[in-house]
């Protein structure tokens, strides 16, 4: 096999901070992420080498820098169907044979599709890394997408979407993108819709694969216990992947709508209401990214946050309440999620909105900012404790064009957060007036109590299963 021309694109960091052999440091402030190397093969595939000698395992994560936002109109979910079918047949193996061979070595294969990217992953004990590499390469580079497997997966996906209605939180999450984004590419998930799944063809899947699965559109993270000889095997496995240009469509900006509205998805037998409050969020490369993260932690991340204290601790209205965002290439969604018993829906929505609007109006305090900065500093080493989580973060940063210096400078950037920077970000990005509120609950118990919040549109949950 032709030896690859290899060059090191960047040796990102070389500080003495690997997981082994380090003396106790001077605390979180001295923590640095572990060293890794970046290499670009001649065919354009970027490889991140993240060695970890602490345990006998190896993991591979391949990010394809395309996700469900590139599904053609009418073919919503083809990204998810393509990812699901990767391991359902190759030139050499049938779907059952692939599962058998992977699990015989204690391994597996999974592919997760997000709006802007896809990550396929396998891991194994290091005794089995050769076999895992062979299978991983074959699944990703030589899938055959058999018609029979497409038909099987189509039936499973349709049944899966229908059964989603019986998992109230998941169902409300599935419905929310469409409510926020409508026909925008972020308005559907990789699961697709019943209509799009029914019309999907093998050619659709093959076209999606041909168009987006390419070395120049991919980054491979190699983590674990391996040596230089095995690195060479990885390079040889992927250097023959034919290069090509990948032409992606532009994702439009957040759709324009205004005012606050409620979509009540009626399901009479539920004991609890699922409540999703959503609004326009931010792109990942927004300069105020860390200020927004700090604001969301103060607003609603676990113990001690404003929403947790007001809605759970003080009022006993819920077991869980969270504020969240999902930054993407273009503004992703931002929101608040909670749930409550049917008779408390109105109070919970009203008090959650009151807490949120007070937060936007008055901003955060010096004390809150000091606490959240300490929390972010303290969480940093734990977040990157395993090299697999570091790999995942590096892949996502790469997707959004953010350099690894983000992680190197993270602690200093946290130190620079101030009350004024957080409050400026809140004023700029946290919309108190233009909200979409989705409630999955019994109509009878909730419709009247929601009318004071905004115009209420009611739909039977079964409408979304067709």
């Amino acid at each position: 096999m032709k030896r690859a021309l290899i060059f090191l694109a960047a040796l990102v960091t070389a500080v003495g901070c690997a997981s082994g052999g380090r003396k106790p440091s001077g605390g979180s402030a001295a923590f640095q992420i572990r060293p890794y190397e970046t290499q670009v093969l001649p065919n354009g595939l970027t490889i991140l080498w993240i060695p970890d000698q602490s345990l006998p395992y190896v993991s591979l994560q391949m990010m394809v820098r395309t996700g469900s936002a590139q599904d053609p109109a009418g073919k919503e979910g083809v990204s998810g169907m393509t990812a699901a079918l990767l391991e359902r047949g190759t030139a050499r193996r049938s779907a059952p044979q692939i599962s058998e061979d992977l699990e015989q070595i204690g391994s597996g294969f999974g592919a997760e599709v997000q709006p802007d990217y896809t990550v396929a992953a396998s891991s194994a004990l290091s005794f089995n890394k050769d076999n895992m590499l062979t299978l991983f390469q074959e699944i990703l580079l030589k899938p055959t997408f058999p018609q029979a497997e497409l038909e099987r997966q189509r039936k499973n996906s349709l049944a899966g979407l229908q059964k989603l209605a019986d998992r109230p939180e998941d169902f409300s999450e599935y419905l929310m993108p469409r409510y926020l984004y409508g026909a925008h590419p972020y308005g559907h998930s990789a699961a697709g819709t019943p209509t799009s799944l029914k019309g999907m063809t093998r050619a659709d899947v093959q076209n999606y694969y041909k168009r987006h699965y390419a070395p120049s559109n991919s980054v491979l993270a190699v983590v674990g216990q391996y040596d230089n000889a095995w690195k060479q095997k990885v390079i040889e496995a992927f250097q023959g992947w034919n290069t090509k240009e990948v032409d992606k469509g532009e994702v439009p900006d957040f759709p324009a709508w205004s005012g606050t509205e409620v979509l009540l998805v009626d399901r009479p037998d539920l004991n609890q209401a699922q409540i999703q409050i959503g609004f326009k969020g931010v792109p990942r490369n927004v300069p105020e990214y860390l200020d927004i993260r700090a604001a969301l932690k103060i607003l609603g991340e676990s113990f001690g946050s404003r929403l947790f204290d007001e809605i759970r601790v003080k009022r006993g209205l819920t077991y869980g309440i969270y504020s969240w965002f999902d930054p993407r290439l273009k503004p992703g969604p931002m929101g608040i999620y909670t749930f409550t018993r049917a008779e408390k829906i109105g109070e919970t929505v009203t008090e959650t909105l009151n807490t949120y609007r007070q937060f936007v109006k008055n901003g955060v305090t010096d004390e809150e900012v000091a606490v959240v900065k300490a929390l972010m500093r303290g969480q940093f080493p734990r977040t990157f404790e395993t090299p697999e989580t570091l790999a995942r973060q590096l892949l996502i940063l790469n997707r959004y064009g953010i350099g690894p210096e983000y992680l190197q400078n993270y602690l200093a950037a946290v130190d620079a957060i101030s009350k004024s920077s957080v409050n400026a970000a809140i004023k700029k990005y946290f919309d108190p007036d233009n909200l979409r509120i989705l409630v999955y609950a019994p109509r009878k118990a909730s419709e009247e109590s929601l009318k004071s919040v905004g115009k209420v549109q009611v739909k039977d949950y079964k409408e979304f299963l067709r």
Binding site: L55, S99, E103, G106, F127, Q162, N271, F303, R377, R382
Partner: protein, 445 residues
Amino acid sequence: MKFLIALLLAAPSVWASAPDALEKAIQFPVEKYSLPNGLTVLLHPDNSIPAVSVQTWFRVGSKDEARGRTGLAHFFEHMMFKGTKAFGKDTWGKFLNSKGADMNAFTSNDYTGYYINAPAEQLDLLLEIESDRMRNLLIDPKEVVSEREVVKEERRMRYEDQIDGGIRERMASLMYEKSPYSWLPIGSMADLNAASMDDLHAFYKQFYSPNNAVLVVAGSFDTARVKKAVEKYYGGLPRENITRPVVESDPPQKAMRTATISREAQAPTVAIGYRLPDISHADHYALDLLSIVLGQGNSSRLYKDLVYKKEIALSVSSYSWGQALGGQFVVYAGLKPKVDPQVVVKVIDDEMRKLRHTPISQKELDKARNVLLKDYVDGLKKVSGRARMIANYEIVHGDYTRIFSDLKKYQDVTPQDLTRVAMTYLTPSKRNIVIVLPKKGGGSK
């Protein structure tokens, strides 16, 4: 080094050599000792990141509740975040966040666990806070009123609006009639409403005592210093006499039991459960592996048959676990809409019969073992994961060293052992079958 043993050289992919090498490769240092007041302490030094994990686990769970007070152990777990005189309720939020810490807790049938993960320099403070709430908790009636509603919301979320949660609860009461395993840690709504201040105080006094606790400290620390701190903060806590409710045992199950849950659902679900012996029984090694053979992964027997070949289920799984008073082996199948659950019950029965009467190949056993070992190693990747594993093994088995020695036990399991345990425990008359049937007029159209 993170671990005592240096790099493991790549070995050929054959089972015979892997486990021995693996057992060496996963070794990590743990020191165990006890204080005179009965507190069990386990220290796992690891300097890989500047962080510590403090795990405080109590030997109390829902098995220690009396009938009429189900859910008390879990309800009390929530109250442990309400503060003491020295460390008020903001400790479990703003104060510990200001120290860079994350925290939470969980309650099972057999134990209740609390953890704080924090920067290493906060270790002294964490020990001070945890030792303080072990004995000095304030139980404010106003907080009890509010938190009771929070727990009830948790119950609605996990068990009333979730099909799988409803199955778990029904399975427990079907499988057992007298044992405290006949209810789940969440307890019943009526009992949650009935729990009184006296109940909470009495529960706290005896069960939250040092002689009923296991303290695990893992991470970046100096062992001698930590020992001094543990003595300083915990040494003065008084030992308590612990009186547990008398546990009633169920007689051996003689005949199959069935229950049907009729509810709005898009498709039926089938669950079949079997009682197993308690956690100390050596058959659990074979049962763990058998559960993988049967229903874990896309190449497992039930997946291949029900999901792939017959296409009548969307998901299947099987799990085996041991507990202090008895274990369980449970098979779940989430069916496709309109499938007759009795057809699925028969397919599962047929597969069980094969397990009992047809020898299992060495290759299939090796596959299950590889899956198990991979999961085992995955659980060891984080300091907090190792801390949790140490606490779990110490509480459940009374011996953390089984983390390492269990690998050999799994290695010793033979195909004949799998057949034997299937013959012993997974027989038709010992089945407990829970079926969820969609109500007519529901979503299953």
